[in-house]
């Protein structure tokens, strides 16, 4: 006989089994009822929240997504409070509540989001959902020239040390793209070459250019895969093929350069140009001093904006450009082309001359001001915050020994990166034929609210 299933040897009674089974069922039913009641009293609960803590600093329109453990009734913006306060929109669908930040958030700041009166679709017990997060400190990139190689560095606005992203001889300029760097290098004959460097694996791809050209005025919109630059033929030809001719290159396309064409269908020859912050179009100031808004991807999309001498900066919201004519700086509203002459607000240091100006998201301006020193000979350069009533110093070099070269406001308007030569008397040029800088050029990061210097790095050409 083969073995069969085992009967338990201990004596059992059928009644005990039935009693135990019944008791178990009753206990389980009571426990289920208890937790059902608790569940109804509890209301919706937050399962998890997701937010890109770096992207919220760099771009507006980013979302905090709150996942609730059940389908909830529609939530509106009034139910959501954010500390510190940020303008926001709210949408909800199913068990997801999406809070969209209208503005960029501040670096390294704790945010607390509270959603009150959240109910399930059947309008049960309301509950309050709370979520906190700390914004990041996204990478910044800059160029540090040295010997034997120049280096493109990556850093953060915290105490962490910078790291080398790419290193090679004679880097003239670079642009930060989505996942890559466009790096322009100068040959011994002062001709440019262009390479694309992957930020993930460091792979280098050489971009074919026409012979004997120099690249200048490289620019890219934040987080974009497209960048642009001007090409100028070297040599002494009377009719050079390229003369500050504007080109773009799209990494998502064929990786070949394409000219930006104007109203006449011919490539634009520009004095200056700049991408709009969202990268959708660009402003180009042509050789005949006409300012155009051009969408390089849409043939014929060329909008004349007026005649100006110089193109300054574009506000981060893309609404205002600063330009200049023979009489000084002008703010140009890009939606209705209204112009307003810019003058600095009263400044404690005297009557300054207004230089580079950049609008902050709230309408204030960061300005470079030049004042004549009491000796009547030297100029002192200052970066100031102008709130429309008064200009106050954000940064000046110690003892006014240095010179402010350039500045750039962070995408969220929290910091200004000031490119300075700390001491002009000891400054030495790096000797580059194009885009030369002082060997001592330093970039100083200033908190616009407090005026405190939060970091400084040796280098220039900052990309946020």
């Amino acid at each position: 006989m083969r073995p069969i299933f085992t009967e338990d040897a201990r004596p059992r009674s059928a009644a005990r089994f039935t009693r135990t089974l019944t008791a178990l069922i009753v206990v389980l039913a009571v426990l289920c009822g208890l937790f059902v009641g608790l569940g109804y009293l509890q209301g919706p609960k937050l399962s998890k929240g997701t937010v890109d803590t770096d992207a919220v600093v760099g771009q507006s329109g980013q979302q905090l997504r709150l996942f609730v453990n059940q389908v909830v009734a529609p939530v509106n913006a009034k139910q959501v409070t954010i500390t510190p306060n940020v303008a926001h929109k709210v949408t909800s669908q199913g068990g997801l509540i999406a809070v969209q930040f209208d503005a960029r958030l501040k670096y390294r700041t704790d945010y607390h989001v509270r959603v009150s009166g959240v109910t399930s679709v059947d309008r049960g017990t309301p509950s309050t959902l709370e979520y906190s997060f700390t914004t990041g400190s996204p990478n910044i990139y800059y160029l540090d020239r040295g010997s034997p190689n120049d280096r493109i560095m990556r850093a953060r606005l915290d105490a962490s040390p910078p790291t080398v992203v790419y290193s090679t001889r004679r880097i003239q300029d670079f642009a930060l793209l989505e996942g890559a760097l466009a790096v322009v290098t100068l040959s011994e004959h002062n001709e440019s070459s262009l390479d694309l460097v992957s930020l993930s694996d460091g792979a280098v791809e050489h971009v074919a250019l026409p012979n004997h050209v120099v690249i200048q005025k490289v620019d890219a919109a934040a987080g974009s895969s497209t960048f642009g630059f001007t090409l100028t033929s070297t040599g002494d030809s009377i009719r050079p093929p390229y003369s500050s001719t504007l080109f773009t290159l799209d990494l998502s396309g064929s990786h070949t350069i394409k000219p930006v064409v104007g109203l006449n269908g011919k490539p634009l020859l520009v004095l200056d140009w700049e991408y709009m912050p969202d990268g959708s179009s660009l402003l180009a100031l042509t050789h005949d001093r006409s300012l155009f808004m051009v969408d390089p991807k849409t043939p014929g999309s060329v909008l004349p904006l007026g005649q100006f001498n110089e193109l300054g900066s574009i506000s981060r919201d893309g609404k205002i450009a600063t330009v200049s004519d023979a009489f000084g700086l002008i703010s140009l509203k890009l939606d209705n082309l209204r112009q307003e002459r810019l003058v600095p607000s009263p400044f404690d240091e005297g009557e300054p001359y207004l230089g580079l100006t950049e609008y902050l998201p709230g309408g204030e301006r960061v300005e470079k001001l030049l004042s004549i020193e009491p000796d009547g000979i030297r100029f002192a350069s200052t970066v100031a915050l102008d709130n429309g009533k008064k200009s106050q110093v954000l940064y000046r070099t110690p003892n006014d020994d240095g010179s402010i070269q350039n500045f750039s406001v962070s995408p969220n308007g929290q910091y200004v990166a000031v490119e300075v030569i700390p001491n002009v008397t000891t400054s030495m040029s790096d000797g580059y034929y194009y885009d030369s800088h002082s060997t001592s050029t330093t970039t100083v990061f200033v908190d616009i609210d407090s005026g405190n210097v939060v970091k400084s790095v040796e280098g220039f050409d900052l990309s946020w």
Partner: protein, 304 residues
């Protein structure tokens, strides 16, 4: 099937086509595991030395069942494959209660099920932990209850008892294996086909949208998921991916309930278990498992 129908110029109504598609998909999904289960059952009954499995188990009933409930970690077989394996364990000398413990726990804690559940949900909302801990708890509690039954043999169908009492043919292990494969297949396969057909028919008859509308209610979401698990009869190795799209609509506790209830009780499993256990046992088991599964889901909803 579609080719035959199209070739003949005869068109089946959409509902019949859906019924056939759903039923065949359940069979195709289950068949490899049923065969693997039968093969493992043959290994246990014919090839393992006498008393091999018993050797490593404690004598205390609770600890012994706890050990048996962990067997599934080493057996990548879903619930349908465990039915023949469970029959094999009983033939090999396990009590009915011990075999039930194995039967209920194995499909949930088998390695493929754990990996796919982790792939689908990670550690979100404690769903994975609830599934493993809940599955082991249910198996051991149900095993404990049935261990109290005075007559273990009365829990089994007369046909299975007769099968167990069949005299052994003095034959080689190879012949015994073939004979066992034929007999187990004849017992299990019809049940699998009938169960798959019923599962397909119910899915055609009950619109899924009816279940989804219940997803946000703490109680009805759990009941809806238990009903869905019962009807859909999807294999435990892939059920996490099946239910993943529902995770945004249904409360996490109801997802956990689906993942512990479905591998133990569904129409296909009941059809297959009916080859071995009496209807009364299946009703008692279903009630206890349903309450325990609901409790797991309700606790997850409250805590997570």
């Amino acid at each position: 099937m579609r080719a035959i129908v199209e070739g003949s110029g005869f068109s089946l109504p959409n509902q019949v086509q859906d019924l056939l598609t759903l039923s065949i998909s359940v069979i195709i999904e289950s068949l490899p595991f049923v065969i693997l289960g039968i093969l493992l059952s043959i290994v246990v009954q014919v090839w393992l030395p006498e008393g091999f499995l018993m050797r490593f188990l404690p004598h205390n009933g609770v600890l012994r069942r706890a050990g048996i409930s962990l067997f599934g970690i080493f057996l990548p077989v879903c619930e349908c494959g465990n039915v023949p394996l469970t029959r094999g364990l009983m033939v090999k000398g396990f009590t009915v209660a011990e075999s039930i413990t194995f039967l209920l726990a194995a499909p949930i804690i088998n390695p493929i099920t754990i990996i796919t559940t982790h792939q689908a949900f990670g550690f979100d909302n404690g769903i994975l932990i609830a599934r493993i801990v809940g599955g082991l708890a249910i198996a051991n509690i149900v095993g404990w209850v049935f261990s109290l039954h005075p007559s273990q043999s009365s829990l089994l169908t007369p046909s299975f008892i007769a099968e167990c009492r069949r005299p052994e043919h003095p034959d080689t292990k190879r012949h015994k294996s073939v004979d066992l494969f034929v007999r187990e297949s004849s017992a299990i396969m019809p049940a699998l086909f009938i169960g798959a057909l019923v599962a397909g028919a119910i899915q055609v008859a009950v619109p899924r949208s009816v279940l989804i509308t219940l997803g946000s209610d703490p109680l009805f979401s759990i009941l809806a998921m238990m009903l869905l698990a019962f009807v859909i009869a999807v294999c435990s190795n892939v059920d996490a991916f099946f239910i993943l799209p529902f995770a945004n609509t249904f409360m996490p506790g109801s997802i956990a309930t689906f993942l512990v209830f479905g591998p133990i009780i569904d129409v296909k499993m009941l059809a297959m278990l009916r080859t071995t256990f009496t209807t009364k046992v299946l009703v008692q088991m279903t009630v206890v498992v349903a309450l325990l599964s609901a409790l797991v889901g309700l606790v997850v909803n409250y805590v997570a």
